[in-house]
Amino acid sequence: MLGYLVHRLLIMIPTLLAISALTFIIIQLPPGDYLETYIAELESQGENVDPEKIEFLRQQYGLDQPMIVQYLYWLGGLLQGDMGYSFEYSLPVSQIVGDRLLLTFVVTLATVLFTYIVAFPIGVYSATHQYSWSDYGLTFLGFLGLATPNFLLALVLLYLTNRYFGISIGGLMEPEYVDQPWSMGKLMSVIQHLIVPTIVIGTAGTAGMIRRLRANLLDELQKQYVVTGRAKGLPPVKLLLKYPLRMALNPFISDIGDLLPELVSGSVIVSVVMSLPTTGPMLLSALRSQDMYLAGSFLMFLALLTVVGMFISDLALAALDPRIRLHGGATK
């Protein structure tokens, strides 16, 4: 396993470097820079812009340097924990994203847990009770979850929770706790407000995962080794847990790689609709205003989540099912 770990890590390093370079290039691709966008915005409002001041800012932020220099400066800064400077907020990126990353992590973790806790038993039940009324019911619910737009579900749930539970609309805490230090009241408020976003963001993923687990488990349950085990008198639950379920878990585990970044980037519209103080809306705003260090840091964070997610799922798959695929074949 150490050999596999080293092989896999060595792939991650150039991947992350290539992603960081691509991210930086893509952010720089639109004509102009943040300051030009800023000037255009001021001029459209009829305000005068001092060219000397703009030139001074351009020099101060290194925008007059070649792209490669700016990239290396940014990359070196990342190693030192300095993610650059946000022109839009006039603050270091690390100061702006600190709380948002924490809250995004909380929302993400809650959603992943919700997805797995709900999808796993339902998927197993649906597969082991194929074509029963309960399977049809759960399948219907799954399709409903897949087909319902997240933002619509968000609006409906916001209304219902406000009307029947008195929870304030939008945000991840009651307004009086915003910008206040952490306390038990604030924590409870965050937990209360987490319920709706967790359900809204997690619903589509849960429904998809139920369908995949059901399909995979059904495939495994029809294989000969299961029939053999049954014929030899192995208890049904033990037979299910020990062999077919383990095999059917593969797509569950390989989903981790896609799940982590999707939960951060895929929930942008929901975050806007629900006014969640997470990274999604800020990333959108940073990309629109060409706030390159802020956008770059977010995109690197997403890339890191993707690569780390893939790494974790590959390690788990290698440990769970280290089988050769005969069409692939070993060379050594």
Partner: protein, 177 residues
């Protein structure tokens, strides 16, 4: 009795990986004053690559001997497992490619609290696996479905019925006895 070694040309790639890993993770720490988090992260990774380099060097100096009594790794961290003490046999296949091609296998043998791992880069790997699988069969060890599949890929047949429903099989044998 047969003796098996890792051919030096097969280890060159592993040495290169270890060196590349140490350079890529430890190098930046020498030139950039990293934050504490990055220092721990990159330092940990550099230590891992160093450990991998040390393991590769260890393999270069190790000889795996297989005879009627058992399997023995002769080298700086030598270990011997008698076939009569064989308690577990696993054959895993690893590949970093999406299509699972160009991978390698690893045989792990355990007995009396000791374990020994042999990679498929060693000369005569199939021979070692065949002998170990034969002894596992004699001792009626439970083999995982992955191990059975990998043995089959090497052309070594294990009895899947014994392992697919091991508990049931044991009951049946006990009944027959």
């Amino acid at each position: 009795m047969s003796e098996h070694r890792y051919p030096p040309k097969e280890l060159v790639g592993d040495y290169a990986r270890a060196a590349l890993g140490v350079a890529a993770t430890g190098g930046p720490l020498l030139f950039v004053p990293a934050s504490p988090v990055m220092m721990w992260l990159l330092g940990g990774l550099a230590a891992l690559f160093l450990a991998f380099g040390a393991r590769t060097a260890l393999r270069q100096t190790t000889v795996v001997r297989v005879d009627d009594a058992g399997i023995t790794a002769i080298g700086p961290l030598g270990v011997a497992i008698a076939w009569s003490e064989l308690g577990r046999l696993g054959l895993a296949y690893y590949s970093t490619r999406r299509d699972r091609s160009r991978g390698w296998m690893q045989l792990s043998v355990r007995g009396s609290g000791r374990s020994l791992r042999v990679d498929s880069t060693i000369d005569g790997f199939r021979e070692i696996v065949a002998i170990a699988a034969d002894h596992a069969e004699q001792r009626r060890l439970n083999l995982s479905p992955a191990t059975i599949g990998n043995l089959a890929a090497l052309g070594i047949q294990a009895n899947p019925l014994d392992t697919a429903a091991d508990d049931g099989a044991r009951t049946t044998r006990a009944g027959q006895a």
